[in-house]
């Protein structure tokens, strides 16, 4: 449905962010995220940053398992 790529923001200018996924860089639209800064991690789908995220999934899944 929607392939997502977690990537790090390495630059941002005029609503366009440069993201880096282990050395592969691309400009993506950052207009749909409020307050994005270099160093933030984002989820990218088809050239658009769709969400600001944490770097990995460890904390999230640990907390969910704790809840069970």
């Amino acid at each position: 449905m929607c392939v997502g790529l977690a990537a790090k923001v390495v630059g941002i200018k005029d609503g366009v962010a440069v993201v880096d996924a282990s050395g592969a860089k691309r400009e993506v639209a950052a207009e749909l995220i409020e307050e994005l800064e270099p160093g933030d991690f984002v989820m990218v789908h088809a050239g658009i940053a769709i969400a600001k995220i944490t770097a990995d999934d460890t904390e999230e899944t640990d907390e969910l398992m704790e809840m069970l």
Binding site: S22, G23, A24, R26
Partner: protein, 334 residues
């Protein structure tokens, strides 16, 4: 088969085999006609290996090489896969009207250098110029002959259960480089084609052990396609360890962006080697002592489970099938 040729027929996967099977094999079949990278022929008292390859890469210059270097590497590597020392080559150029002479010289110089590296001589050539638009810049076809090594025989049909599967380097770099250069995908990555002439590398392995069953050049269609071919030709199963496959991080990043698997991307300086467990260590040691084999790794083994299939042990330890390669590589985005 559909009634006209599509790009997918040239992708090196199932459709390419279909085309060869139904059109070329139907007309060309003879006892020497081969499914391997090069044919083995009896000439006089001796035996030689012979191979030919056409190069249409666009763009003709790319990070890590150009069409000239590639045209030497491709044929040298096809011969080397048979354990044959490349001796002589011919090359045919089809050049587009208007192509800069300076570029042609650059290409020729690069061919000279690459050939010298493995001691192969370019002994004849052909030059044709086609009208503007009839070809894309320059196409090159090279043909090579090599001397087979006594007592050394490899074939895609020789893999045996228990054998180790080795790749001579990290996978998918050439395909990834060309994809980024050719398609206007706006992705930047510091990736160079692995394009390299591997005769000295193969020689190093052969000097370490004569007990090698299969050597295959993982060009079009990548390592995944080669493993499926070997599984079918040897009628064995393949078990791949997903976490052991060496991939350059930037290649992995590009593949993540485009929904592609590096196992299906072309290599031009990386081979798949299959050898019995006892000789695998020697092969690996020889490879790591060679400049093109630094990242060599064992990525799996041959089994007797599900002959014809490639099973992957995943990052979470489960087993699943590697999807069969086929068709044109298409970025998966939505």
């Amino acid at each position: 088969m559909s009634e006209y040729v599509k790009l997918a027929h040239g992708a090196g996967g199932k459709q390419t085999s279909e085309l060869i099977e139904k059109v070329f094999k139907a007309h060309f079949a003879n006892p020497e006609f081969t499914a391997d990278d090069a044919a083995v022929l009896n000439v006089g008292d001796g035996r030689i290996a012979m191979s030919t390859d056409g190069f249409i890469v666009s763009p003709f210059e790319f990070p890590g090489g150009n069409i000239g270097k590639l045209s030497i590497c491709g044929t040298v590597n096809d011969l080397a896969c048979m354990g044959a020392q490349p001796l002589y080559m011919t090359c045919a150029f089809v050049i587009e009207e208007g192509f800069p002479l300076e570029k042609l010289e650059m290409i020729a110089a690069s061919m000279e250098k690459t050939a010298a590296e493995v001691g192969v001589k370019i002994v004849a050539g052909d030059t044709k110029v086609a009208g503007k638009g009839q070809v894309d810049n320059v196409f090159i076809t090279t043909t090579g002959v090599g001397r087979l090594t006594e007592g050394f025989a490899t074939s895609g049909a020789f893999a045996k259960p228990g054998d180790k599967i080795i790749v001579t380097g990290d996978v998918g770099r050439h395909g990834c480089t060309i994809l980024l250069e050719r398609e206007d995908l706006g992705i930047e990555a510091d990736i160079k084609s692995d394009c390299a002439p591997l005769w000295n590398t193969v020689k190093a392995m052969m000097d370490a052990t004569s007990d090698i069953h299969v050597i295959r050049d993982a060009t079009r269609g990548g390592v995944g396609t080669v493993l499926y071919e070997i599984a079918a030709e040897s009628n064995v199963g393949v078990r791949l360890e997903a976490t052991q496959v060496p991939v350059d991080p930037a290649v992995a990043g590009v593949c993540g962006m485009l929904g592609l698997d590096p196992l299906y991307l072309a290599n031009e300086g990386t081979m798949v080697v299959i050898a019995p467990a006892e000789s695998a260590d020697k092969v690996l040691e020889a490879l790591r002592g060679d400049k093109y084999g630094q990242k060599a790794a064992v990525i799996g083994e041959i089994t007797d489970v599900m002959p014809g299939s490639v099973v992957v042990r995943t990052e979470i330890g489960t087993e699943t099938l590697l999807p069969q390669p086929g068709g044109e590589l298409l970025p998966r985005i939505c």
